[in-house]
Amino acid sequence: MNNELKELYQQVILDHNKSPRNYGKPGEFNHSAEGYNPLCGDHVDVYLVVDEGIVKDVRFEGSGCAISKSSASLMTTIVKGKTVEEAESLFEDFHDLVTGKLTDEEKIASLGKLGVFQGVRDFPARVKCASLPWHTMKSALRDEPTKVTAEP
């Protein structure tokens, strides 16, 4: 397989695509948002339970490509237990990572598993796939009522 493709479709990504974690609408949640990419039809709902500034639970539901699905799945595993500020800060780092703005190796390493999405930066058309779940989560945390429509 081509190297760039290998970078994009890493084993972790393929695994989360196949068996997404924290999938399905929870019985209880106090923040939610709907993300939608009108260009491709990708769709994701993010539900959060936030208590005293801490993300106690986060789940998602939707349909999309391997990149968007695995991004949503990994996001839920990483954000769970973080404070809202930490979650928002991770959003910024993730966004910089997939758009190629984040190049500091140490910083990338500190993102842990999220680093697998670094390959996305070579696929400008796929950046919105990876970032849609994160935009949606941010919108849910801020209780923004409008539908999220991915990258401008």
């Binding site: 081509n2 994009l8 695509n17 260009l39 491709c40 039809g41 990708d42 490509c65």
Partner: protein, 427 residues
Amino acid sequence: MINTSTKTKTDASENLILKDTSGFDAGSIRKDFPILNTTVHGKPLVYLDNAATTHKPLVVIEKTREYFEETNSNIHRGVHFLSQKATNEYEEAREKVRSFINAKSLKEIIFTKGATESINLVASTFGRMNINAGDEIIISYMEHHSNIVPWQMLTQEKGAVLKVVPINDHGELEMDKLPGLISEKTKLISIVHVSNSLGTINPVKEIIDLAHSKGIPVLVDGSQSIQHLKIDVRELDCDFFVFSGHKLYGPTGTGVLYGKEELLESMPPYQGGGDMIAAVSFEKTLYNELPFKFEAGTPNIAGMIGLGAAIDYVRGIGIEKIASYEKYLSDYAASHFVDIPKFRPIGSAKEKVSVFSFILAGIHPHDIGTILDFEGIAIRTGHHCTQPVMKRFNIPATARVSIAMYNTKEEIDHFVRAINKVFEVFA
């Protein structure tokens, strides 16, 4: 129909250019399209996204270049040599379009920037004039968004109603439902000739005859038929016919609205400006005659002249010959696609053009598109601006292969082989 002898591999199997047994020489056609020599990620380009836009033959590229080098001037207003030359070439392109679709008069050929603008023009003029509160417009479930949204905007503005002909599981219109949708309030039927996402060829003649028996005019969206089928607007007897030049091997930003002269005469102008007037004072403007009444402002002169060259090119080969070769390649493709594991075609109408929408169970079309791109293959993935169709089949998106006259059997083989790469990634 597949000729079994064509399945034999030849020693030219490394070469994507090969003569076809139907007598159509795709190899020499390919030489007319410089872009087909492109490599993508180090592989020869295999362009299977022709329903999105077709490539341009050298004659179109050269004609456009020649226009800018030797003719460039504004039209319909100068007395100088170049302006006259530009006007002549622009109007010759109109004659080429007229003759290509067999319209009665040049007055019936309005130049626009594309099929979308052509439909919006009809909605803004014919629509605003004739559609009132409670009136009805009929479209179908398989329309491109460009034949949904303009009518939605109009019906919302007027308090009118949009009715939709349903489609069956094969992606064919449920024609038996159409008579029940027509009422005394129906003021227009606007229907796609060939579906861009399903490939279905709709029985537009039958629809037109039925509509006319009730005195209802019909607009036919020919964006996906003009490049595949012989179009005769007089034989169809459609009231409006629209298409985009860029899907007919012409430049982008070129489009056509055909309308019956008496209808166009009765319609108010679309945009106001230069060229669409006969005389202007601050009290009153006298509008220009057809077709100029609908062509305000300096148009895409080079583009329309390029479209004229594209039509000459297509006629030089013969649309019937193109159609027959595309049918041959489609049959070849269909016979090989069935062997692809997890392959589910979306759209299996009896009457189809060379457009294949499909999904692979468990693999999103976007991932298919990205992986095939690395094999040099260009396909379209997404909802194809037909979200109601996606909803009808309960899928978010499809991958779509659309074949043109310069495609070859070897490219289809390459595509089928490349699909294995998708399965390698998503093992």
